[in-house]
Symmetry: C2
Subunit: 255 residues, 2 copies
C-alpha cells in the first residue's frame, strides 16, 4: 500500500500472442526493490499478526499478502519472532511520534488533558491493529519487547510532557491534585483501550453494539467527563456536556 508496487511485472506471461517464444526476451520477470519489499512485508505482517495473533499468524500468508516469496521474510527481516518484533517496534514508533505532535505544552491544562484523551481514543479507533499487537505481546509477557533496545528510550519524553501539564494545572488551580503522570496516562489509555479491544465480548455481554456511532460518541464524552471531573472536581458541569444529545460540538465549557 505504502510501498509502490514495483515488482508485479505480471507481464511475464504477456508474451505477444502469435510469436511462439521468439525474442520476447526482454520482459523482466521481476524487479529489485529491497526497501519496498521490506515495507510491504512489514505491512502484511502487521495485518496478519493483528488479526491472528502470534501463533495464529501464518508466514505463508504474510508472504502472499506482501506479494513476495516466503524466503523474502527471512532475507529481509528474520524469522517469525523477529518479524513480529519489527512490526511491534514500528507500531510504537508510529503512535509515539504522533503523540509528540500534540503540543500539549501550549494548551490550557484541562484542554491539554482533554486533547490527550481525544487523541488516544481516535488513535486507537484509527489503528485497531495497534491494540491487537499489544494484546498479543502481553499474552507473550512482553518477551519480544524486552529484547528491543529502541522502544525503551522513546517513552520518557512523553511522560515528562504529561507531568508538566499536571504541574501547570495544579499551579493554576485548575487541578485539585498532583496526580502521578504515569498513573494518569495508564488510566487514560485504559479507558479507551479496554473499551475498544474488548468491544467484541462486551457487546455480546451487554447486548448493545459498542462500536455504533452513537455509542462511540457517548463513550468519548463519558471518558473525558470522568477524568476531567476527577482532576478538576467539577463533576456535574463536565458530565452535563456528556448528556447533550446531538450537539457533539461542545467539547468543553467552563462553569
Amino acid at each position: 500500500m505504502s510501498a509502490r508496487m514495483i515488482k508485479p511485472i505480471q507481464t511475464v506471461t504477456q508474451r505477444a500472442p502469435g510469436l511462439a517464444k521468439a525474442k520476447a526476451k526482454r520482459t523482466l520477470k521481476w524487479q529489485r526493490d529491497p526497501e519496498g519489499m521490506r515495507l510491504r512485508i512489514l505491512e502484511a505482517a502487521k495485518q496478519e499478526f493483528s488479526t491472528h495473533g502470534l501463533a495464529g499468524a501464518r508466514v505463508d500468508r504474510i508472504a502472499a499478502k506482501a506479494g513476495a516469496n516466503k524466503r523474502m521474510l527471512y532475507y529481509h527481516v528474520g524469522n517469525k519472532d523477529e518479524l513480529y518484533l519489527a512490526v511491534l517496534e514500528g507500531a510504537y514508533d508510529k503512535i509515539r511520534s504522533e503523540e509528540r505532535g500534540l503540543d500539549l505544552e501550549h494548551l490550557d491544562p484541562p484542554e491539554a488533558i482533554r486533547r490527550l484523551i481525544e487523541f488516544t481514543w481516535s488513535y486507537f479507533l484509527r489503528n485497531p491493529e495497534f491494540l491487537s499487537l499489544l494484546q498479543t505481546e502481553n499474552l507473550a509477557r512482553a518477551k519480544h519487547l524486552k529484547k528491543s533496545t529502541k522502544v525503551k528510550s522513546m517513552h520518557s519524553p512523553f511522560v515528562e510532557m504529561i507531568r508538566t501539564v499536571v504541574r501547570r494545572g495544579v499551579e493554576s488551580g485548575d487541578f485539585q491534585v498532583a496526580v502521578d503522570p504515569v498513573q494518569l496516562y495508564i488510566s487514560i489509555a485504559a479507558l479507551s483501550f479496554f473499551y475498544l479491544s474488548n468491544s467484541a465480548t462486551l457487546s455480546v455481554i451487554f447486548g448493545r453494539d459498542l462500536l455504533a456511532k452513537d455509542a462511540k460518541d457517548e463513550r468519548l464524552a463519558h471518558m473525558a467527563g470522568l477524568v476531567l471531573a476527577a482532576l478538576t472536581g467539577r463533576s456535574a458541569a463536565l458530565f452535563e456536556i456528556a448528556k447533550a444529545p446531538k450537539s457533539r460540538t461542545v467539547v468543553a465549557q467552563t462553569v
Copy 2:
C-alpha cells in the same frame, strides 16, 4: 486440582517382582471417573489457553496436563474450539457468581462503588487467566461467545445492581451525576483490566515494575480516587486517601 485424582493407578507396572505374569490380574490399569475427568480437562485447558492463546494452545499439552488421553477431550467436551468456549463460559460464570455476593445494595453508594472497584481489582489479580481468556476471545472477535446461549443472560442483573447504586447515590446527593451504569462498569473494569493485562509491556515501557507490591497498592488508590472523585466531585478529599501508602512518593497532593 479440584477433581480428586482417581485415575492415576500407576500401579499397573507395579507387578510384584518375581511372579512373571501369573495372576497379578486384579491390578486395575485405570478407573472410571467421567466427572472428575471433565473437570481436570477443563482446568488444564484453562491454563493452556490462558498461557498460550487459542492458536498457541496445544491439544496434546492439555491432555497431558489433565493426565488424560487426548481422545478424552473430544469424548467429554469437544474439539478445540468447543473446549475453549467451555472454558470461557466457566470463567464468566465464576466471576459473575462472585459479584453476585457483593451485596452492594446495602452499602452507602460511595462505599458500594469503592467496594466494586476493589473487588474487580482483586478478582483480576487473583485470576489472571480470566484476563488472558478475555483477551484471546476478543482477538477472535468473540466468535465463540456469540455461539453461547448461557453467557448472554447472566449479565443484566449485574447492570441493574449498579444502576440502583447510582440512582441511590444521586438521590442522596452523594453523586453529582447519573452516569450510565454500563459506561461506569466498563470504566471500572477498564482501569484494572488494562493495567494488569498490559502490565508486561507497560512495565518495559515505563521502566518500573507495575506488579510490585507498592505499585499495586498505589494503583488501587489511584483508581478509587479517580472514579469516586469524578462521581462525588470531591477530588482533593478522596485522592488524599491515596496518599496513605507510607514510602512511595506522594501520589496526590492537595493544593
